[in-house]
Symmetry: C2
Subunit: 462 residues, 2 copies
């Protein structure tokens, strides 16, 4: 089989047929040697039970959150049906980028931006909305910063006729009116956070009437609203294991597409904020490594301004700034970490998904941090030859892919590099504008700033 396909001419875009859409999500935890440390209740500091999680999350996704044994989880037929609207997503042979770099490396990227949410977030949004609908719920709440997750969830809820309340960080609500309008167009109610609709919001507004809001506060408002509203649950677009599970559809399609043409990747690169895209992209490849079948270089790319893997600690920490959500064992900069105003809103999270954290700790994956100026330079170079205008988040992966391709050029090695292009940058033009004007600020952190933030880590027996 492999010999047959190796000689097939590789098209510019490898697009699988609909019947090749994965039938199951892949759960990396089933192949990991040890268990992931359990979530801890923020009050008792005891492991959280599925029953406790079900008060906040949908029943089925709470079960998925805890599932460490089932390797394959069937994708519901209804979710696969929705996936057909924008999946299988293309795996693109970056011919024009290779030519520009004059590298012997082969470069491929999995493009997840060809849907109205503009990113991979829709893969998990539709799954979570489906389970909410199945459970007979009336609606869901969530928070959004940059707005990609909020948009994806609004689309998914519109499809299932679920109500959707999105708490949008106030400064984003004001600075990104277009994102807000996309969500409203899909029927969501979008509330600037902090708001007067929750106790926690009122409390914060009383204390800091002029606050621009924060993701931590928006999480607290969304959770409080879900707990206090009949038939509602809270849903989240990253960080959780269930999200990494749903996103495994990215990696599964990528692997099928590569195998179809006999392409053997050496390096697989993804940007990493909460870990949803990276975890999904690398899942089946990490699985092969965990089972001792093959070896790859799997690289997580984070911003220098928010380097949780490369400069954080692997400890139990709160998942939210408000400390009302469970604690997870993860690489963290401390839940009090306030990232500088870099433009990759999707990568400004203080921690990292527990599975990714464990894989990094176990040296299954590598990590690197890149500065914002390099990221935008790579983004523009990429856009001009490959046509697609990438999101700043995705451009972290582009930046490292270019670095690796140039290394291959120096070493004269024909390696095969695959990276995840998570989304498009149409709503990030103010940042591009600053780059075009030469006024984009730098983003690195001093050791002192990191140390100060790490001191906010909780004092819990690890």
């Amino acid at each position: 089989m492999k010999n047959n396909t190796e000689n097939r001419e590789i098209p510019y875009k490898i697009i699988l047929a609909e019947k090749e859409l994965p039938r199951n999500w892949y759960n990396m935890r089933a192949d990991m040697p040890g268990k992931i440390a359990p979530l801890l209740d923020p009050v008792t500091m005891e492991p959280v039970t599925a029953r406790a999680l079900e008060k906040v999350f949908c029943r089925e996704t709470a079960a998925q959150e805890m599932d460490e044994t089932n390797r394959l989880i069937p994708i519901p037929e209804d979710v696969r049906n929705f996936y057909r609207m924008y999946r299988p997503a293309p795996l693109i042979h970056a011919e024009f980028l290779e030519k520009m770099l004059d590298t012997p490396a082969k470069i491929f990227y999995k493009f997840e931006g060809n849907n109205t949410s503009g990113s991979h977030k829709l893969n998990s949004a539709i799954a979570q909305a489906y389970y909410a609908k199945q459970q007979g719920l009336k609606g869901v709440t969530t928070e959004t910063g940059a707005g990609q997750w909020g948009t994806a969830l609004s689309m998914a809820c519109a499809f299932y006729g679920l109500e959707c309340r999105v708490f949008m960080v106030k400064c984003s609500y004001e600075q990104k009116p277009f994102r807000r309008e996309v969500m409203r167009t899909y029927g969501a109610s979008v509330i600037p956070s902090p708001s007067r609709t929750t106790e926690v919001g009122k409390k914060i507004l009383k204390e800091y009437p002029e606050t621009p809001g924060s993701l931590g506060c928006a999480v607290s408002e969304a959770v409080e609203t879900a707990l206090n509203t009949e038939g509602y649950r809270y849903v989240l677009g990253s960080v959780l294991n269930q999200v990494v599970l749903h996103q495994s559809v990215i990696g599964l399609e990528t692997k099928t597409a590569l195998e179809k043409y006999g392409i053997k990747p050496d390096v697989i690169i993804g940007c990493a904020g909460g870990g949803s895209n990276l975890g999904g992209l690398i899942a089946p490849f990490a699985g092969e490594m965990l089972r001792g079948e093959r070896s790859y270089r799997l690289i997580a790319v984070e911003p220098e301004a928010c380097p949780s893997l490369t400069r954080g600690k692997f400890v139990y920490d709160y998942c939210d700034t408000g400390k009302i959500c469970p604690l997870a064992k993860m690489y963290s900069l401390g839940s009090g970490f306030m990232p500088s105003a870099i433009h990759s809103g999707g990568l400004r999270y203080h921690g990292m998904n527990s599975i990714i954290s464990q894989l990094y700790h176990d040296k299954v994956i590598e990590a690197t941090a890149v500065p914002q100026s390099d990221v935008f330079k790579a983004a523009v170079e990429f856009a001009r030859v490959e046509g697609i205008l990438p999101a700043p988040e995705s451009s972290h992966a582009i930046c490292t892919a270019i670095n690796e391709a140039l290394r291959c050029k120096r070493e004269n090695r024909a390696e095969t590099i695959v990276f995840g292009l998570t989304g498009t940058g149409y709503f990030d033009m103010p940042a591009y504008g600053k780059f075009n004007d030469g006024t984009l600020s730098e983003s690195s952190l001093s050791g002192e700033e990191i140390e100060k933030s790490l001191r906010t880590l909780p004092d819990i027996a690890q």
Copy 2:
């Protein structure tokens, strides 16, 4: 063949293979019974020669503009190579829309929005940039209103290393800073029009210092700049016959995809501004009608606020407000027509491509005009079930497709409807915001307004 394919299960998205990309554009004029009336020189009122056109346009596209005999024009290999980045574009079976409408009709749409320019404009931009490069030119000028054409041309010029100067109507330049930044990111220089870089711009600014600009003025500035700059030519994204020719790739792919699955369309619908998308979509179908092989209902949809086909006259008129460009025989509302501030910037042109005009005059195609409120209602209904957030321009076709599907429901007829979804609405969120808020203004025109505008038509023997 047909019997074999008729039973093949139709996927949600019909995506042709790269090898099925058309090798030729199709020139409808070769199958039309009479010649299209020639362009007239605005000074002499004599037919324009190819040599005269070459002073403004690239040599090859000037020849294409006049070509009435060659049925098939080869698509240069280099252009086909670029097309592979985003083509073949999917033909989507609107299953979810059919279900929502509960109609016996089958609905398909050709989606041209999956590229960074967000529309079909890239199909002609890359062709025109290619010919400019082949001719050894240094750069091109153009104008842009809504910004889709300017974005497409910027991308095409970045790919070929051509300079690109875009005159952007001043109010759009100020109201659509994101569009402007996309163009700058692709290396274009974007100049608010009227500007002090041209004589015509200076003259207008002296007379009306506070003018928000107009497309007519931006055309004049772009043409003046092309004529006065060494190694430059002027390019245009619609109205011209060459553009309709390049856009025929839309219709050719659509026809191949339909035939592959034995689908026989009854009604084909496209929005119509200058006619580039509509002409491209219907080209091969109109060709069959012109050759007497088959019959379809081909429907042009225009806004009630700018109804050139349905309420204009078929006469010689100026193509630009400044009256410096040649005159064309076309349906026109008069070059002095000022459309009200509807949000479909791409459909606010006073005239219509000559080929489309002749086909409408000869009753090969039909036309209808729809009000803005119906258009946005259709757009939101569509977005919520089919996922894609459509451009307001494209939504004119959606609106009529829904009307036709509901007619089929009333008449209990299982007709097959195909429409063109030309692009996405990510840069049109202010208009969606107004619709969401219930503050979108209506757009119809009084008979008196139309009469007044028609009186600006030139007095030329037709």
